[in-house]
Subunit: 355 residues, 4 copies
């Protein structure tokens, strides 16, 4: 229970000698200061007992009262929001960025085929499930390390950045060498050792909401990464556990807006894992974007019935194409661009594509 209750954000141009002076001031006032970096912005968290600092020093850009666990993620510290670059794709710049692909990488051919299809239809990033956390040890666990070369090769062919799930602190370095962004799955949202390691890695991270966790806990989990100096975080709403059984999880659409309002981090929606039903992926995607999501993460598969993981919720290529068309119209109505629209489709490098 820290007594910290005020955040002071300084201009990124403030000299480090001044930061030292500020820290000394807080220290001497008994305000128990801690210095963090939100990107290039120095933020001092302290108790509110310090009063005004020495007058010759640069004043804070923002002084934010805080209670609870949200500090570096608070929107007041960066009202314009954070843009997270994942390879060439920028999440959080006002555009709608669609990441797509199979739930799990199953083979070179499967991955190449699906990646080419989603690239051709406007996706600006790929799902790349190498490690799959599965409820049962007897289910397919992903190709694990063997998938990494496939990820690299498909990324080269499509030109699209790859999101790869990481499930264990000790794996972070090796995954980070291949992926453009790391994904932390719902079941690991409160694997705090993993969060710290991913924070230290400084890589873009997609942090999925635990299906049993509240919004304040998602924001607190992000603080583990932020406090380690990494602000390249995309929060991902992927549904919560409720008594409703008609959908796999309940997509918490209000949480999308709430996270945008409370935090400066961009927000992604996973319409596939939340609904667990391809017939609902379209409406859930449109709703997610209308509620303010910056990005979508969509399962696509050419042969859902034979998919090794969660096939029953994947869109077929034709349905994905239709979704992209709907998103384009919706984007216009919202006055937002669809990321990558207008860009020439990347040639599919000799891969034969059929829906």
């Amino acid at each position: 229970m820290s007594r910290i209750d005020v955040l002071y954000a300084f201009p990124s141009t403030v000299p480090s000698t001044e930061i030292s002076e500020w820290l000394a001031h807080f220290e001497s006032a008994g305000a128990d200061p801690t210095l963090y970096w939100l990107g290039a912005t120095p933020v001092i968290a302290a108790s509110g007992t310090a009063g005004a600092g020495p007058t010759h020093l640069t004043r804070p850009d923002a002084t934010v009262r805080t209670t609870g666990d949200s500090r570096l993620g608070r929107r007041e510290l960066r009202p314009g929001g954070t843009v997270v670059p994942i390879g060439p794709t920028r999440v959080g710049d006002g555009s709608i960025a669609v990441f797509a692909g199979p739930c799990a990488v199953e083979s070179a051919e499967q991955y190449d085929t699906i990646a080419a299809i989603v690239a051709e239809n406007g996706a600006v990033g790929l799902r790349g499930g190498a490690f799959k956390p599965r409820s049962s040890p007897y289910s397919f666990q992903g190709l694990r390390w063997a998938a990494l070369d496939l990820l690299a090769e498909t990324r080269r062919k499509t030109g699209l950045p790859v999101l790869a799930e990481v499930v264990e602190a000790a794996h972070v370095e090796r995954m980070a060498a291949v992926a453009d962004g790391l994904q932390i799955g719902a079941r690991n949202m409160q694997n705090f050792e993993l969060l710290k390691e991913v924070g230290a890695a400084g890589m873009p991270v997609v942090l999925k909401r635990g299906f049993g966790c509240r919004v304040d806990e998602v924001l607190a989990a992000a603080e583990y990464i932020l406090a380690a100096g990494n602000d390249r975080i995309v929060l991902c709403e992927r549904g919560i556990r409720t008594f409703e059984t008609a959908t796999r999880f309940t997509l918490d659409i209000s949480a999308v807006a709430l996270m945008k309002q409370r935090s400066h981090l961009p927000v992604m929606v996973d319409p596939s894992h939340s609904t667990g039903n391809p017939a609902l992926v379209g409406p859930a995607s449109l709703a997610g974007v209308a509620a303010g999501a910056d990005a979508l993460l969509v399962d696509v598969h050419t042969d859902p019935e034979r998919a090794l993981c969660d096939g029953n919720q994947a869109l077929l290529p034709a349905a994905f194409r239709e979704l992209m068309a709907q998103l384009e119209s919706l984007a216009m109505g919202l006055g937002r661009p669809l990321a990558g629209a207008g860009r020439l489709p990347v040639p599919a490098a000799g891969i034969a594509v059929t829906a």
Copy 2:
């Protein structure tokens, strides 16, 4: 546990003598038939043991296998969907219809003022809370019967139809004499005596989802009304109880799409009671419409802090105006009209309106 598992929907032009012959055929085959009317459409529910009927009879338009409790509401029986007229407003015709007003009618002046504001800004129907089911007997219970004259008077002034909540079977007849549509609140969704009475009344009904009820139970509750011969039903998603406490309830956005797909009845979204937070009403409204909702039910109040019921979730007039503008853009992106748009605003009948 009925053995009924097939529904036969006949053309509405089929002579009643033929219906009698069909019933006799099912009867003699031991298929235990029941005749219902879905609007003008005769529907016979029977067990699937009857085989083909006499060849000289008109064939069914649709033959639907059914399991579970959904019968007359199944989309297959009316693939084009049901349009529910509430006064001059048509819900379910592809347009986006916004109903708005205060949570509770508090006084003639309060109701007139707010009604005029929402009318002026594009609402096509009014909330009219006369009876308020409240968790505590010590909370404001609504003006009850005393509100009915106010409803009638404000309806006359604005020209907008009024939705009035009914809380008790014995009240239905008297409420139906004044209101354009009856609303059944979440707490009464499984008050089956009330459902039957509302079914018998034949009035338009907004049936709100119980906050502890699954989608299949909403559809089953609608069957009580449908089976009584009333198909003028609008289903309303208004949030469910979950462990998330950052919002008052969790708006189940997937349920909106699911109810549209499974049922031919139009669907409304209540962004106010579901989120309980005016800052979230806008995003939840846009999301609801993007997910396919036909209508919205929005709390608006000129003085939320002094509202006698649920004021803390109401939009101020300016925020409602902004929401309507956003909905107009969104509607364009979705290729749907905003109901009432293009219509001349109703003159506010001498009521002074300020936001």
Copy 3:
């Protein structure tokens, strides 16, 4: 939002003239008093602005600060707890009272047979489901009024009091004429018109928790009955809706203890509807009693597979007998008597009983 925040409970011997003087005192102090009766105890609810009253008046037995919706049910007003007589059975006197029977009355023979079995094995009250609120209009709705004569006849034969569910305010008077206690089902816990009517009837009531309702809402619902002058209320925990699907509902065992601590009303547990699984009825019953429940409500059926309502959760007679034996041992360990133990079993009036 009432400003009321203090309750003053007076000795039941205080003359009515003094009560009038107290009310006048509060009135003149602007403390907005309301007089209630908790049994024979006058309770004045008022705002805490009144200061001490005239010194010549009898002082309150208890002065309780209250926030929220719980007033007349607060344990501080009756620290020893309330004993609710249901026929000859007393619920809340420290004993463990078992009510049992079929979920629904199906026929004279079915009801007589099962009633005789549970009576013989130590039940001190009967379930008597005449009206069954069912999710679907196509499910068995109970024998309704036709069951009332059967209830009366079986009560006469067994000597056991009967609990009958009431589903509609207009039915209360007629049900009250036959039953020893009225049951309000989970789906009607917030049917406030029904609560008021049951309050006015002054009959013993078993108030089941709505499966989507919080403990504070159960207590607030009880206030509707208490405020109408009826304190013969047994609260019943019957499970809530959660994401767990292995049981029909989730029995909230902590709520049993919580309701006992916060309220003076006795608490019943329904192990049958909460678990929906006969293999779990035994453990849930023992747990409920260990957590402090005063009574149990157990489904028993001689032919569960052919039961017209919820048969799949009913205990067979042999399992019920075993449960009663386990409860007897448990009761000893808890230092509480099993209600009716030691009493001679009621002769089964010529009904042949086999398990």
Copy 4:
């Protein structure tokens, strides 16, 4: 999606050459066999296509049809149940074993004092929180490695075994060197890399249910440990997330009975973290034991208000003493012994103890 659907459990005396023959038989029948060890019991999982094996071989003790993810944990494989030794304490032998202590080890003095108190009052094991997974990085994270010497020292003084939480696969070896049992917290129940590592370590494990996880997922998580050859697992029910806010979590009492029925593993209940309220710890403990729990895990603290972690739910020493007395009576009523009862209290090694 494995096709495996039958488990064959062989006597532990079967020669390994016979096991090889059985495997060859299944292999040649295309039944895709896998050999596991449940303690000393060889279990072959295979598809049900193999028919009877060679007649000269020892027949399986048990042949269990299985669907879903539960295999080695299924009760049919070990109908008498598993006894897990944690130091000298045996969990699952029919007795009621109480583990107690502070939520977190804070200092040598704090830990010694509380350990001595719980030892003196009948606890047969200690909580030993060194690593604390906390929602926020700004909360106390435990003494981490610095606590290990304290655990060892206090264990020596009290003679009681210590349960220590492990939060990261890479920590398992070092924790296992000090603790008598490893605890996997709710937030790590689906940290599958950790489960595998703990499985490989072969140590006794307390596996806490994730607060967003269903019973079938708890059983599937245990399979990760079982499949790695470790059957020393105690399942722990510690409450799930629901809409009820009057308690911190909702203790799922039916799950206790369900896990006992479906699995041969012993079950523990955590009444402290589930209720989050010391006034409810007693009733929840009694209910847990009445429902069939083998063990309890109780937070005790001498100065809850200054506790660094979850103090607000800890029992004071006097309340713990009272709980132990109640458990002793209850145990008698259930015909089960309280573990360690009759044993002389361990002298508190010169530590001054006051409640």
